[in-house]
């Protein structure tokens, strides 16, 4: 079975936020909810880099570990999904997640939150694949249609890769070994001594 992964190539990302928009469009997420976001480090300085972040579909997902109702599950493709019918909106997943992924569309009295919403790798949820109920709760199920997540498909510079981890790694390996520029040879002097090239 494939092990689905996202990878953002920071040397290619141009912070166009196309992935965020593609995600919103494909999944029709509520206003104010962002299943994906782009973070720019050292913004405005030479060497600034942008990284697109969404759910990383962890093997040992902290959100799933702390959930009081055990509403998370991992598909055979390694995609971490959750059952909104079991979610009570406690927010523990948001506090455990390293990537700040869980989103809470509703704010209610006493700091209470609506049911959690997050990136599904465009794989829907526990409802019947392709059904209206699934779309309304979880958004599109492109995986069931044999497609990949909308964000990665939309990426103009192909910075954001999604798919089987082995293939993604192979593509990125090819890129990083054939990439031009000084950082390619970084570590050469340390490994083989200065003066050798």
């Amino acid at each position: 079975m494939a092990r689905m992964k996202f990878l953002c190539d920071a040397d290619r990302c141009i912070e166009c936020n196309g992935c965020v928009t593609a995600c919103k469009n494909a999944n029709e997420v509520p206003w104010g909810v962002n299943r994906r976001r782009v973070v720019t480090l050292n913004d405005g300085e030479p060497g600034e880099k942008s990284i697109s972040v969404a759910c990383m579909h962890c093997d040992d997902a902290p959100c799933a570990a702390v959930c009081p109702t055990d509403c998370f599950y991992t598909t055979t493709d390694g995609i971490v999904l959750h059952d909104k019918d079991l979610c009570i909106g406690c927010g523990y997943c948001f506090f455990a997640c390293p990537f700040g992924v869980p989103q809470f569309p509703e704010q209610r009295a006493f700091g209470s939150r609506g049911r959690m919403d997050k990136c599904t790798f465009c794989a829907g949820g526990p409802e019947e694949p392709g059904s209206q109920a699934e779309f309304e709760k979880y958004g599109a199920n492109l995986i069931a249609e044999g497609m990949l997540p909308a964000c990665a498909e939309m990426c103009a510079t192909k910075a954001l890769l999604a798919g089987d981890g082995d293939l993604v790694a192979e593509i990125f390996h090819h890129r990083s070994t054939s990439r031009d520029g000084r950082p390619q040879t970084w570590g050469w002097a340390t490994a083989y001594g200065a003066g050798l090239s």
């Binding site: 782009v38 480090l41 050292n42 902290p62 702390v66 909106g89 506090f95 455990a96 700091g111």
Partner: protein
Amino acid sequence: MEKQTRQTTRSRKTLRRIAAMTLFVAVAAMVVPLSGYVYVAMAQETEQAQTQVQPWAETNPRSDVWRQARQATEGRSAIRGPGANVVMTSSGETFRQIRMGPLSTYAPWYLALMLGAVALFFIISGGGEKIAADSGKRLPRWSRFDIALHWFVAILFLVLAITGLSLLFGRAVLIPLMGPEGFAAWALASKNIHNYGGAFFVVGVVLMIVAWTRYNIPDATDVKWLLKGGAFGKHLPAGRMNGGEKAWFWVNVGAGIIVCATGVMMINPQVFESRELFQLNLIVHAIVAILWLGASFGHMYMATLGAPGSMDAMTKGHVSSEWAKVHHDLWYDEVKDQEFSDDQPREAAPGGNASTSSA
């Protein structure tokens, strides 16, 4: 001829000098630039010496970006929201490790040990001394307001304990019993009861602190009472509240303030500047609340089996004079003029704050 020869010799000398000069300039012109190599070699040597001092001073710019990302460096994001400008933080893993590790492991053991200790104490001591209330004389102890306040806080305490424990241990204990859907419904109810009930509980705890602090100022009698083992069934001199009761009151004050403050902050999550503070808050709330719950088992035991007759104080508002003499002799001496008889309807109680009901 000689003159000519001399002239020739001079011109030869001049020529030779010129040739030598030319040769020197030519050689110098070729050699001097080569000194650049010496300079380069020396410079490289110095550079090497510097690199040897700090071999890892140079970092890979590409690694630096991911290092920054890993270390929760704040960047900029078009998306607004708490922590949206940070790629990743690892404090959540600490929160997870504490909550699913020590907290989930030791809290049930602690509660079980506290229950076991109380049960063991009951088995060894056989319960408190049953004091015959033959005379029918009663002493007013708590007003209706005090009784209402006590049960308001006590019932909320139990409700909040049950709902709070459901959220912490329900996944392990209740899902196998109720099924995922059944437990999800109960967990949602628990969350709402805990949030809304907590707000009322805070009011109760604050009122309790305001109303009862005056009875619970510790003094030398209480220290003696505690040191000589008053808590283990010995009847030692005590005023209106004995050392154990005062200790329990101050446990309520301390734990109450911490649990209520952390709880109020949690239902107003906007007060937290960072996720780290919320995580810490949640852990402190759970630990202190569970310690408090364990301590309350002792209070429940003393009120029911540990000192028979005590329950009257918080149900009827008055206690038998015999009970007062045994457990609170100093207080009995103070208030014995307020004694009334159980079978007669009582007139307005002296002191004003005691219950007027004789039921």
